[in-house]
């Protein structure tokens, strides 16, 4: 598959020592089942990529007619579509910055301190992840209607920050849990102030978690249809545009743009993994020194 090149950078923990083999036939069946499951997961993605190269006749992009690169050539010619893409990208960047900042500090509070109301706070942070998107989108719209705020670009950003915060908190916290709090105490004992300790010790240490959280927030934002569809006003994002087109058949340029986005996200992931590795090497170096 086109994506197999992405294996090497993800090599995480070393493989566990092989255990005594338990029934090779069963292993085979398991492997084939797993392969089929992954085919099921990837088939629509592959379909999407392939049909970006379809030399379709007329407006519809349903049957395979032959290979062409023309849709890649005029990928940015459709004004409405490019506007939607531009909105999606800028909204994703803004809401990623917002949600990552807010969520990281909340994660620090939960991971670093004991305080009254901590359990309630944890539960409260969990709730948005357990709420269906329709409910979030509809209730937010109901409030904007009551207060008299007209929906548009800004309300989309507000909503995206809202539903991303919890995921950022969870991601950053799991990084915090693996950290030795004594290092921060040592810095303070050696005379570093609150601020110096935060910027020179805490932040560099949690940076891998923060980066992963940012990638996640970006992916959540750029993908969202449900919440956005309630709070978009006159603004269109890429998922909204695709949804509008989906009933009649999506034009091939949408396949092309989605493929480009997929490549961008994969590159972001790759960059994230490479940075994480550098950071890990730096940490090991620091530990030796």
């Amino acid at each position: 598959m086109a994506t197999s090149t992405a294996t090497t950078p993800l090599a995480g923990e070393p493989a566990k020592a092989p255990r005594g083999d338990t029934g090779t036939g069963r292993s085979w069946a398991l492997g084939i089942w797993s392969l089929l499951a992954v085919v099921f997961l990837l088939a629509p993605v592959v379909f999407m990529v392939v049909f970006g190269f379809n030399d379709n006749r007329g407006r519809f992009n349903v049957d395979w007619q032959g290979f062409t690169l023309k849709h890649w050539g005029d990928a940015f010619d459709n004004g409405d579509l490019t506007d939607a893409l531009k909105n999606s990208l800028t909204i994703a960047v803004i809401s990623t910055i917002g949600a990552t900042t807010l969520g990281t500090f909340l994660a620090l509070a939960l991971g670093r301190y004991r305080f009254r109301g901590k359990t309630a706070t944890e539960l409260f942070v969990f709730l948005p992840m357990a709420t269906p998107e329709v409910v979030m989108g509809a209730s937010l719209l109901a409030m904007f209607l009551v207060v008299g705020i007209s929906t548009g670009y800004l309300t989309i950003v507000v909503a995206h920050i809202m539903f991303s915060i919890s995921y950022v908190v969870v991601t950053v916290r799991s990084r915090l849990q693996g950290m030795d709090p004594h290092i921060e105490e040592a810095a303070k004992d050696l005379g570093a102030g609150e601020m110096a300790t935060f910027f020179r010790i805490t932040l560099p240490m949690i940076l891998p978690g923060v980066l992963s959280a940012a990638v996640l927030a970006f992916a959540l934002s750029i993908d969202d249809y449900a919440v956005t569809s309630f709070n978009n006003g006159q603004t269109t994002t890429l998922p909204l545009y695709i949804f509008g087109a989906a009933r009649q058949g999506v034009p091939p340029t949408v396949n092309v743009l989605s493929t480009m986005l997929l490549l961008v996200v994969l590159l972001l992931m790759l960059a994230n993994v490479l940075i994480q590795r550098r950071l890990a090497r730096r940490d090991r170096g620091a530990a030796r020194a």
Binding site: K16, P132, A138, A142, M143, V250, L266
Partner: protein, 285 residues
């Protein structure tokens, strides 16, 4: 100084909590009051405490409610059946290829859900490859179709939320201490007995977590029904959306959405009781 120290965590947590309060919690509560208003979009709405909207909503849209639960339940079961062997394989058999398999599992998330669903529609199209194969082998009648059926919607939902089932199952299986399984086989349990009596019970938290993570978004989903279904397959999310955005019947929409949220909160409370809230919140990561 003591006060300052006590307040410090709130300085960190405050902005995010305020954001969630303003744009998540207050809207949820506000919804209750919107649902009790009456009026229409021309003359405006007043709070009249008309609880009758709830009775009306349930009797008018009972079908869609039941359908949402049935579709979501069926999709959750399908996902469990697909995901358990897959998660087991990744956790125990994939060896050093594990990160690659995990990447394949999350790969669909890198394409917009709407786009993936549109691709599904393309694949199960009446003239598409899948339908013609199914017709040839006789699983579908000669003019049988997948597009615009309940099966298409359920399969679409199962497809869209499958990774949410695989990941917690994988996490639960991976966490199991292998020595327990070895101990069972050393004590002459067959591999199957060891699997049934050791592995499965220890994976139960993952099963619960995965089911919750699939079932909740699935009940509220409206993308699949809108793109893959016919008007006979509409779910409660579709009703909420059209009431809010097309019909502009805000009280009914708010009431339906509030009912959905209440049902889900009850479900979470039950799960929390069964598993403990810690497992629940951890499962979400």
């Amino acid at each position: 100084m003591r006060l300052r120290e006590r307040l410090l965590p709130w300085w960190f947590a405050g902005p995010a909590l305020l954001w969630l309060l303003l744009f998540f919690a207050i809207p949820l509560v506000n919804q209750l009051s919107v649902s009790l208003m009456s009026g229409n979009s021309e003359v405006g709405y007043d709070l009249t405490w008309s609880f009758s909207v709830y009775g009306d909503a349930i009797s008018t849209y009972g079908d869609q409610f039941v359908r949402s639960v049935l579709y979501a339940g069926a999709a959750t079961l399908i996902d469990l059946v697909i995901a358990f062997p897959l998660a087991y394989f990744i956790a125990y058999k994939a060896g050093r290829w594990r990160p690659f398999w995990l990447l394949m599992v999350v790969m669909p998330f890198f394409v917009s859900q709407v786009m993936r669903t549109a691709s599904w529609k393309l694949m199960i199209n009446d003239d598409g490859p899948i339908v013609s194969v199914l017709r040839d082998v006789g699983l579908l009648g000669t003019d049988g179709r997948l597009d615009a059926t309940a099966g298409a919607v359920i399969l679409g939902i199962a497809y869209n939320f499958l990774p949410f089932m695989v990941l917690p199952l994988y996490a639960a299986l991976e966490r199991i201490d292998r020595r327990l399984i070895e101990a069972a086989t050393d004590l002459h349990a067959s591999h199957f007995t060891a699997f049934r009596k050791v592995t499965v019970p220890l994976a139960i938290p993952g099963v619960f977590a995965g089911s919750l993570l699939v079932f909740i978004p699935a009940t509220g989903d409206f993308i699949n029904a809108a793109i893959l279904g016919s008007p006979n397959n509409l779910m409660i999310g579709n009703v909420v959306q059209s009431k809010f955005l097309t019909v502009l019947d805000y009280p009914t929409a708010a009431a339906l959405s509030f009912l959905l949220m209440t049902a889900i909160l009850i479900l979470i409370a039950i799960f929390g009781r069964l598993l403990g809230t810690r497992t629940l919140t951890e499962a979400a990561s």
